[in-house]
């Protein structure tokens, strides 16, 4: 009886461990794929963006430090738009109306994706907002970052410049 109980506990531990110890996908790995609803007419899938450099930022309308990064990324998108750079802003708002309200009032000019069920943010182990990662033309993660300081604009700019020239 005790032996059976032990087996069950070990089995459960093995089954639960990948969830319990879920970590951010490391830099240099293929970015985990996802498909999300977007504010455009079609859904967007990360694996279909091969050949493009995709900068993804997780944000929410209630996040106070997010607008700084969103504005910075807007500028970078304008700068590198002709070089195949896309910026996706994945919102963690539960209601789309909140995101749409933010877009209308702040004039957000980025492609917005809705992660209402938090599937993607859990897969990428997002704890802080804003958080961001950059995927190169081959779908490999090249940069991961929690939080955003105004000086980080230069880091993003340099990184995008190097990725564009690759």
């Amino acid at each position: 009886m005790l032996r059976t109980l032990n087996c069950i506990i070990i089995g459960l531990a093995i089954l639960v461990s990948p969830i319990a110890f879920a970590k951010k996908p490391p830099i240099g790995d293929k970015a985990p794929d996802f498909t999300l609803h977007s504010d455009g007419p079609h859904n967007l899938r990360l694996s279909e963006q091969k050949g493009y450099i995709v900068a993804v930022v997780f944000w929410a309308s209630w996040c106070r430090s997010c607008p700084v990064q969103l504005k910075a990324l807007e500028q970078l998108q304008k700068k590198y738009a002709d070089f195949g750079v896309k910026v996706w802003a994945i919102t963690l708002d539960k209601n789309r109306a909140d995101t749409q309200h933010y877009q209308e009032h702040k004039g957000l000019a980025l492609t917005v994706l809705y992660d209402e069920t938090f599937v993607v943010s859990e897969r990428y182990d997002i704890d802080d907002l804003p958080s961001s990662f950059i995927v190169d033309r081959d779908g490999v993660i090249r940069h991961l970052q929690n939080g955003f300081e105004p000086t980080d604009v230069n880091t993003f700019d340099t990184l995008l410049q190097s990725l564009v020239s690759e």
Partner: protein, 250 residues
């Protein structure tokens, strides 16, 4: 055939070497003669010239000079084998063996190799499927879509026996492919023999741009063979509405 080619190449290179040497010798000879003649040009008469021609052996003294300079010229000499085969030793080099082959033959070999790789890949895929999803328990659900006028497909959720098994969102690329007649395999899994129920929830944008959500269900019996079920989304021209149907394939 290869041996003949090598011999011809060696013969040609030898001929080239000899012709280069003779040219250089002649040039040296001319130089020597010119110098010798040029010194006493005003005083030489025709007999003297004839004498000088007769004293050609003296001019041939320059030959050793030419021979002395030969090593320097040999450095400039490029082995024909290097040009033809990329190596001084055409024998026993795989690169040479490749170069020997006719480009068409090589292309054919490459093609056959590609076909073999594809075949191995296909066999591995089938083997993997057989191991993961044995035909006795295998269930496949496919989706076909032909209702672009009345319905823009957004996503499909599948449940078997009230258990979610698949949740798929369609991208523009997938929709284009399906509009061209592609059938998507949405789910492959295992089910025991017996009675089961499949529920498909389809979401999208219906007529007049309104959000559209429909569910279709079907009870089916899983037998010992592989089960194929198709979810068809078709436009109903009479009702001007999309139609959803689950169909079993035996």
């Amino acid at each position: 055939m290869n041996a003949i080619n090598h011999k011809l190449a060696r013969l040609f290179s030898a001929l080239l070497l000899v012709s280069l040497c003779s040219l250089s010798t002649a040039a040296d000879l001319e130089e020597t003669v010119d110098l010798d003649v040029g010194d006493d040009l005003e005083f030489i008469e025709i007999d003297d010239i004839l004498d000088e021609e007769a004293s050609a052996p003296a001019a041939t003294v320059a030959i050793p000079k030419a021979n002395l300079e030969a090593p320097a010229e040999e450095e400039e000499f490029v082995d024909l084998n290097m040009i033809l085969y990329g190596t001084e030793n055409p024998n026993g080099d795989t690169q040479t063996a490749m170069a020997d082959k006719d480009p068409e033959t090589m292309q054919q070999e490459m093609q056959s190799l590609k076909e073999k790789i594809l075949q191995v890949n296909r066999d591995l895929f089938i083997l993997e499927e057989d191991l993961l999803f044995p035909s006795s328990t295998q269930v496949n659900v496919f989706v076909s879509y032909d209702a672009l006028e009345y319905f823009q497909l957004d996503g499909v959720s599948l449940k078997i026996n009230d258990r979610p098994i698949s949740n798929h969102l369609y991208t523009e690329r997938e929709l284009k492919a399906m509009n061209r007649g592609a059938v998507q395999r949405l789910f492959t899994g295992n089910l025991p023999v017996g009675e089961h129920e499949l529920v498909a929830v389809v979401t999208g944008v219906g007529p007049e741009g309104r959000d559209y959500k429909r569910a279709v269900s079907m009870a089916f019996e899983k037998t010992s063979g592989t089960k194929y079920i198709e979810l068809t989304i078709e436009g109903d021209d009479l009702r001007k509405q999309p139609g959803f149907r689950l169909k079993q394939w035996e």
